[in-house]
């Protein structure tokens, strides 16, 4: 199996998936369900972003939900300032501020009158935060489980601050009662086709763009770092910069997903940057296959989809968490490379078969067979 050959299969898979999610609304014309599936696709974006830092570069970021939550709040702040009437008192204040006796709009809310600023903030703040944290971690040669602990700690701290600063953030309730996002004359109502396409389009760009990046020399070096980061240094690559690139890019994508999530949910909440969500992302990634962007996205869609259906069904009301846990354990135990490795195996079998058919010489056939079994054992 040559490299370009396997790449063709992979690209086919990615494009097929993109086509499916793009034609999906034609099959299913139901606003409520579209909104639900848009949510799952956003989780797909989030999970693919983690796969880039964890699966490709070996950085297990347990604080992925920080980026997601900050993106979500940036969008919610902008939309809150557009609600009419935005205030219950004078001065154009969001309702929860009035309830908390805030007299004037805080300075850091001011720029969110501009959508452009909000979009840049939703991307830029998570990226900046990741970059600064990454700079200290990766320059300090912090790796593996310590990265996980530090990112998790940061998540907990930021979550606490947001819940605590109720006056400015809406506290536990988050930011609710938002207006509808409008850009370029298009409204993005939570239940609209336009929002679904915004989300699905984002996932397509993230998957195909991400795949393109992993195919560059940079993508290769990231994988080399995952494999043996110390060895990479002796070739003259500044490992910390590469790690920080992956970490920061992943945070930006997660921040963007968070903005979309506000559109789809019509509110922002501290649960968007909860430990629980952060751990769920890791599970989606592991179930789908962290070594593949598409696998990770599919894992998220599948797990949240099954979870949604089970938890809504009266039969599984008490047991759905148990079932999810069991699925997770089974997949991780028996498919360490996730569900996507099943597809990879399928492709290999297909090729094995066609190779056998073309092999006229028995020895050549046997050689191919042993070659393939070696490969299967390898994965």
């Amino acid at each position: 199996m040559t490299d370009t050959n396997s790449m063709r299969w992979r690209l086919t898979g990615y494009v097929l998936f993109c086509v499916i999610i793009l034609v999906f609304p034609y099959i299913l014309n139901n606003d409520y369900l579209l909104n639900k599936y848009a949510r799952y696709l956003i989780f797909g974006v989030l999970s693919a972003a983690l796969s880039f830092s964890w699966g490709y570069t070996g950085i297990l970021n347990l604080g992925q939900a920080v980026s997601f939550g900050l993106g979500s709040y940036a969008m919610a702040m902008a939309l809150k300032l557009r609600t009419i009437p935005i205030q219950t008192g004078a001065g154009g204040l969001p309702d929860f501020m009035v309830w908390n006796n805030v007299k004037a709009l805080p300075w850091f809310w001011e720029p969110f009158h501009s959508y452009t600023f909000a979009v840049f903030a939703g991307l830029g703040i998570p990226m900046l935060l990741a970059f600064v944290l990454g700079w200290f971690m990766f320059r300090g040669r912090i790796t593996g489980v310590f990265v996980a602990i530090i990112t998790l700690a940061m998540l907990v701290v930021i979550n606490l601050v947001i819940v605590d600063q109720q006056k400015y953030t809406g506290g536990f309730n988050g930011i609710t009662d938002l207006s509808t996002f409008k850009a370029f004359g298009v409204g993005f109502d939570a239940y609209s086709l336009s929002t679904y396409y915004l989300v699905a389009g984002t996932l397509c760009v993230v998957l195909l763009g991400g795949l393109a990046i992993t195919r560059t020399k940079l993508g290769l070096i990231l994988q080399a770092i995952r494999d043996d980061e110390n060895r990479v240094r002796y070739f003259g690559y500044d490992v910390a910069s590469y790690q920080n690139f992956a970490f920061t890019l992943s945070a930006g994508v997660a921040g963007f997903a968070g903005m979309l999530y506000t559109l789809v949910m019509e509110f922002a909440s501290p649960t968007f940057l909860s430990v629980q969500l952060s751990l769920s992302i890791v599970i989606w990634c592991a179930v789908g296959g962290r070594g593949s962007l598409l696998g990770a996205a599919l894992g998220a869609i599948l797990v949240t989809g099954v979870q949604g259906n089970l938890s809504e069904s009266p039969t599984f009301l008490d047991t759905w968490m148990l079932i999810m846990g069991a699925i997770f354990i089974i997949v991780v135990l028996f498919l360490p490379n996730g569900l996507i490795s099943l597809a990879e195996k399928g492709v290999r079998l297909l090729k094995h078969k066609s190779a056998r058919e073309t092999a006229t010489h028995p020895v050549a056939g046997a050689a191919i067979a042993t070659f393939d079994s070696k490969r299967v054992r390898e994965s």
């Binding site: 560059t216 080399a224 060895r231 390898e378």
Partner: protein
């Protein structure tokens, strides 16, 4: 002027002085063999040069530039390459991908994001794979390779890197006699264009490649000279006593 110069270098591991006042200088284009009994500090000496281990005292100068305690990637960018005693390649990547990582210029993040694959480097890559006998393994993961092949792959990575100063730690360990001989031929081709420092226990191999041999013992330089002088040196003989005679060490 020497290309590499170590002066009074000291390295200690929590009090234990693995290198205690080492002096060594290597000229441009030279192939220097570094020998010595187990635990003499040979690996540690290479570690200091390539930035893996911090020195407590002393100087390491490379082309008149102080490199002691610099970051590894900066030293590598100056043209220092390193092969490790335990062969280290990227096990999950294919041989081809390994070599692409080895073809390390440019080093920067963004130039590697936007850079295109050049046909020239693809050719060089295949030529390298042929040179070390891995042409048939190009698309196999490095984890499939035998120990000897892994050694070869790491040597090929250093050739891809095209370092001016190549530090080799026991490159022939685990190789058959024929493979060792082939390695010796390769090293003889490399010297002149590159400067090599080779740590070896196999004296047959040293005899094939070495001009000047440096003998380390207990973190110091014990003797330096042509192989015949070294083998007659009574101090060297004494140093090797516990661990067998030098000629069959």
């Amino acid at each position: 002027m020497a290309m590499l110069e170590m002066r009074d270098v000291e390295v200690s591991f929590s009090g234990f002085r693995a290198i205690a006042g080492l002096n060594l200088s290597v000229n441009q284009g030279e192939l220097r063999c570094l020998v010595g009994p187990n635990g003499a500090g040979k690996t540690t000496a290479l570690d200091v040069i390539c930035g893996k281990t911090r020195l407590a005292r002393g100087h390491v100068r490379y082309r008149d530039r102080e490199i002691g305690n610099s970051e590894e990637f900066r030293i590598a960018r100056l043209g220092v390459g390193r092969k490790f005693q335990v062969p280290s390649v990227f096990k999950e990547l294919t041989v081809r991908e390994n070599l692409r990582v080895g073809l390390c210029k440019p080093h920067g993040v963004f130039s590697n994001l936007v850079g295109r694959k050049s046909g020239e480097s693809a050719e060089r890559l295949e030529a390298l794979a042929c040179l070390v006998g891995l042409a048939d393994e190009l698309d196999h993961p490095a984890s499939w390779l035998s120990h000897g092949q892994t050694q070869w792959l790491e040597i090929a990575l250093l050739l891809a890197q095209n370092a001016d100063l190549i530090l080799m730690d026991e490159p022939t360990a685990g190789m058959t006699g024929a493979e060792t001989h082939k390695t010796a031929e390769l090293f003889n081709q490399l010297k002149g264009k590159h400067t090599l420092m080779v740590v070896e226990h196999d004296m047959g191999f040293v005899r094939e490649i070495g001009d000047v041999i440096s003998v380390m013992h207990q973190g110091r330089m014990l003797a330096e000279g042509a192989i015949s002088e070294i083998e007659r040196n009574p101090e060297v003989k004494r140093a090797y006593l516990g661990s067998g005679r030098i000629s069959d060490a």
